[in-house]
Subunit: 447 residues, 4 copies
């Protein structure tokens, strides 16, 4: 069986991830993401009504026109988790393939939300839910197994394609977290087992995000301890405390809910994406949200804020959108004094997030912080740990799986070549069994 | 005669500079600037129609209400040069004082332009023009002399107040440039002479901008050589070349005009402030602008650009606004493909400016550059030298003048204390004869 | 009673801390530190045999000759904790004062060790041990109380001088840690109580180390979680693991001992200062060291290492000196392959410390890391939290104590003026009640 | 004719450059450099007496054992210029090849000096001098032409191999300088001509040093203007002025000599490499050194310094080694007060060099500067422009030559992949015609 990997998107950037793996005559697509950073460069772009070709032109979604060069039929589209750089292009591209979306339940719900907003294209691919640990049959010889991993969103998995030639492991957006706050620890035993199986691992497609950095990413438990330490230090404060984090980071929100209650404040979620992600998490029983208000629409948010102001800011802990200083997010609007919630001298703003590195984010975040400080707010940045592997975790993963070939993804060539530097310590060699693809490139793994 | 210095603005920031010097019963105000960085944090602010108190509240202009505590009459308002952080608050504040504006001709023209736009307050202070080297009598015992200096705008001077107690030298925004491109070199002989005079120098009020940095700022001649070297390297290029610089930096524009002609391109100035500053410079015969188009209004700019596109981009060198990535400036609009001028693969964008340090500027500039690059443009940043003294020039100035006291201005306390660290090498001492004032503070120099 | 504060050392640098507080005719000295960074600039300096005047000349110890200008008798020398920048000059300077050293037991032991090495001067000041919470009478009207704080070494206290005019709080080198690993949490209740007492707080002398930084320093418990997370991730590794940290950071060493045991490795302490500090901690029962070898002398270290190599590196966790890449420390010698312990491919080096910021440290640490990596080691940097307050803790401390005056110490003027920026948010004012002293300056607090 | 390029050294680092080009059965070696940064990590290494295998093991010189896999005879060893990372391994490796060294006269002299110091290996390769513009016949079908380029040392060339299959251009360590201070401008006309020839360019092997950076490197003339501006600003200073720069940077030294004379100071060259490089330049009449002392040995240096001290520092401008803070260089010894030349308050130290980026250099330079400042010196850093192409020059070179294939050298894979990003703008493609080799890799250019 000829096995070929095609880099469709995400091999020149962090964003718009999409990889096709051909197994003889069948093809599996992993991820179909959007690169919002490319789109937000332009003004007044409304992606929902745009044609895919215009978005491709902008560099905003993968250029999947090369899929027509691949001789095979797409049998499944498998997003590894629900972040937009992995599912955001599904509304624009999935309809071209006669194949189901196969995803964990949380990811599947997010895909559904995503396609609801689409105004240009229809979408009727079936969505099939599958839990970590389960397996789907692609054809008589090929199955895909979902191995549980941990990332900064629930429901992340590493899909493993089992073939007669060995396994192909697609390992993006994950960390080796043994003590997560939601869900099971990453399934290291299964990964090691796959590495030891007879047919072995034919290829690993890892993310390369932090491949050049030393050390390991701390467990989400460490972020939880940081938050506990900080929020408990505010125990006696009788003014406003506001927290912001990634809306999709349900584990972080869970910790915030817990510590809000421990310091006698009622948590309240404000902002459209807060409502979206936490609403799904609540319906799926991922977290208990007893008596936690969630408000996504402008009017209901304002009503909730008025109630907070009436009853006393010291009784509440609003958890809001806006950690990157996004111009229209809640915290930015609060900074502009454009909401009923009033920031006063000494109020505390907890950023349980880091700035996603880009001068644009840094400028916007700086502006929001500055406006908050001018109102007297005190700012607590970086109460956060990453959801991505550190360099050392990459080393371990490679060591466990012992793949014959490795195809790093999800970064520029420059950073991916740092991944390969690391792999060369484990006797891989660039060009021989460590491949530095560009968007549009393919590599055949079998002779 | 009691002499007192009051820090009105610019002693906690770079921006909104204003200092009052009381000489017995008479007062001289130096500079009346605006801090646009504070104002631009807010959206949709139109300063022209705003009340001064609102701008004071925002931190945008000096809080001159403390002037009422000073027992004396304002006899003159002296801006040292025409940058907005030195003249921008004149429309809002000058009308409260029954005193003329005294300025060099170029600065005076800019003050006139500035007050023309004002919609809230009237302005009828007389404007008196005075050249570098000339002297104005304030009262029977006090005169003010304008000493020629060099800065990144024509017409910059250091005003020196001669009193029976010694001189007070107000030395902001200057560099020790012996080989400038426009105007005479800084008048070092006169400064040294003032330092040696019998009554000596009672006080120096220096800028502290780069006081903590090593070395000296290169002459504007070095920037000219850098530009010459770069533009001549484009001699054979037959596509578009666009340059951007500070519109008020007439010396830099003069160099750009020269090299444009040397490589057989017709320079053309585009953007509202380009027209404003260069128009004044032309009327005052500071530079020859033979056959150089200047266009400030949207429609005339677009017409000019269409002509450029018709005749061939290779025949022109547009010099445009937008070096900081300002959202509405010309270069940003060109980056957004929002003008008739088309950027093509290989076109050259020369930034004869540096990013004024702030995450907001960095974000905006990054965004503009990114959009330019996406169209194929090649970017040449930092073809620039500063208009401010380096740390070593501060050392020399202090050494020449030997003031009894020194009152650094134009920076945060933290950077101004680095000025004082430097002054302590020359045997000054913080709190004794080196004063770290805050906005609103005064220091009496005589017993 | 006239109360005067004299800045003897540490008001132009981080290092060689020394402050004198005169209470009428009696004087208390707080800290007597050394600035090793100044001394290590020179080659082959052996401080033990040097005269104090030569060290003063070098900038290595406080210039206490100004003590002769203070009209009063020194009644006590009080080091707040045992770091060298607080006790390192005692062997050189204490003999000039007829006064006891008053310190917590751990600090007192370190002072004893320090004076043992001295070769130039005699030392016969009595050493008086006093626990946190206890009080010493200075004269009929003045007492000093030790308030328990947390820092990166055991036995840290904030001494509070109680006078009829109010309290003087000397608050250097501490953090607001509610969940420390050794000792009691910082005594916030007592600090708040002192702030509320009738006579109030006359003055606070805080460190200014991180005054300009946002946020709070995480608890030592967070560092413990980071270490737990990392070391447990090595559970299955069967090669060498080496950890390095500050030898005086007994809490960190305690965590390392615990996790070593949890992953079935025997901890072993190697290096002269490891033996010194941990030896004292063991004798004082601060930590249990069951079956932990401690070796300080070259020969015994090498014997221990040979045993480790014989029995198997996978059975041990050496905790060694050298986290800054110091040329003669253990880890650097291991990097140079100059010890019996062999580093092999995949071995893990845990830096439970950060680089103390200085280009010299960065160069040395880089060199050591590079040599380790060339042998195949994997490096885990920054498994650490600081022992100093973040900016927000400074804000809280000021808010609790409400001192009439504040005199920041332990930094350059530039950073201390950032402390004052922060204090001005709480209505202090530079020059009025917030004092920016230089080494050698005094300020009288009472009229 | 089969043409193959083998990356021997410098394809994973900046340093130890060595590339072999096989043309049918003949081989040409370009460069044979040393990587001192690897060697200086170790203590007390004396390279002169070391065996090549030990140096290879350390990573200090190219691992040329792979040369035995190349089926062909080495016909020439061609160093492009005389820097150690291009000629430093000749004493260790050249004797293995029965081939002449072919180099420009200046480079040839430096090779001779280099092999003189060798203590381990013999050296009897003939050295053949060839000027830029000349051609050498390799075999009946192959010639090598030296094209004149500019770099930070005299005598730099780009060797071009003319073959029936097209040209192979080896373009390392150069800049597109049209207005150099010594020698002819880079021969752009010839490069363009080669690009236009019928057989075209088969391959370009460029350096990738700054390929990811924007813009162009300014001409050496700009550095000259910076120096002129600075040194003339010292015209009235009557104390010591000391300059330091790269000893091999004869153009820079020429400028220093000129400005020294213009400000009435006698230049004097101090330090072993100053004497070595300038001595050769003088003998070759590259620069006039009228009445300039050059001293390389400790005793003669000290005598010269005593004379300077006796006659008056204000009469001299010592140009010394030590711009990187190297522990044994002259300026470092002056900083340690270990020479007869006394640094006094106000003396000026001109660094006409930048720090070569590495934490070790930064630490050493910081230490030297600190010691100089403690003696009162004022420091002027970065009076310098680079000798390497900026990103835009790479773009132009590629555009002129239009090579069929491009093989970037002289950097890590990560930076070289940035070169390829740039090349992809000109329609190259990684893996197809843009090759990212590692030390030891080969690529065959012809079918």
């Amino acid at each position: 069986m000829e096995i070929e990997i095609t880099a469709v998107g995400g091999y020149e950037e962090v964003g718009k991830q999409m990889t096709a793996v051909r197994l003889g005559e069948d093809v599996i697509i992993f991820d179909m993401g959007i690169d919002l950073s490319k789109i937000l460069l332009h003004e007044n772009v409304e992606t929902e009504s745009m044609h895919s070709l215009d978005l491709i032109e902008m560099g905003g979604i993968p250029d999947d026109r090369i899929m027509s060069d691949i001789e095979g039929d797409v049998k499944a589209i498998i997003p590894t988790h629900g972040h937009l750089d992995h599912i955001g292009a599904i509304p624009k591209l999935a309809h071209r393939y006669d194949a189901p979306i196969v995803a964990t339940p949380f990811t599947a719900e997010l895909v559904k939300k995503q396609v609801q907003g689409e105004k240009k294209f229809g979408f009727d691919n079936p969505i099939r839910k599958m839990e970590a640990g389960e397996v789907i049959q692609i054809n008589s010889k090929v199955t895909v197994e979902f191995v549980n991993v941990q990332h900064s969103i629930p429901g992340a998995i590493a899909p493993v394609v089992h073939t007669p030639e060995g396994a192909v492991v697609y390992g993006l957006d994950m960390k080796i977290d043994h003590t997560p706050v939601i869900g099971d620890p990453i399934d290291v035993d299964r990964l090691k087992e796959i590495g030891r199986e007879d047919e072995g691992v034919l290829a690993l497609i890892p993310e390369a995000l932090n491949a050049g950095e030393d050390g390991r990413t701390p467990s989400e438990k460490v972020a939880k301890e940081m938050l506990r330490d900080l929020l408990h230090s505010f125990e006696d404060y009788d003014g406003g405390i506001v927290a912001t984090t990634f809306a999709s980071h349900i584990a972080r929100i869970k910790s915030l809910l817990q510590f809000a209650q421990e310091i006698d404040r009622r948590p309240i979620l404000l902002g459209r994406s807060m409502e979206k992600y936490s609403g799904i998490a609540e319906r799926m029983d991922l977290v208990e949200f007893p008596d936690v208000g969630m408000y996504g629409h402008r009017r209901s948010i304002e009503r909730a804020m008025k109630r907070v102001m009436d009853e006393g800011k010291e009784k509440y802990l609003p958890i809001v959108t806006g950690h990157q200083g996004e111009p229209r997010a809640m915290l930015t609007r609060m900074a502009r004094d454009d909401t009923p919630y009033e920031i006063e001298q000494g109020d505390k703003i907890v950023y349980s997030a880091r700035i996603i590195p880009s001068p644009i984010n840094e400028g916007q975040r700086h502006q929001a912080e500055k406006l908050l400080r001018m109102q007297g707010a005190r700012v607590y940045p970086d109460i956060h740990v990453s959801g991505h592997m550190g360099g050392d975790e990459h080393y371990d993963l490679l060591d466990w799986l012992q793949p014959e070939q490795v195809v790093p993804a999800h970064q520029t060539a420059s950073v991916r070549s740092e991944y390969i530097d690391m792999a060369e310590e484990l006797d891989y060699k660039m060009g021989r069994d460590a491949h530095l693809l560009r968007n549009g490139d393919s590599v055949t793994l079998t002779e």
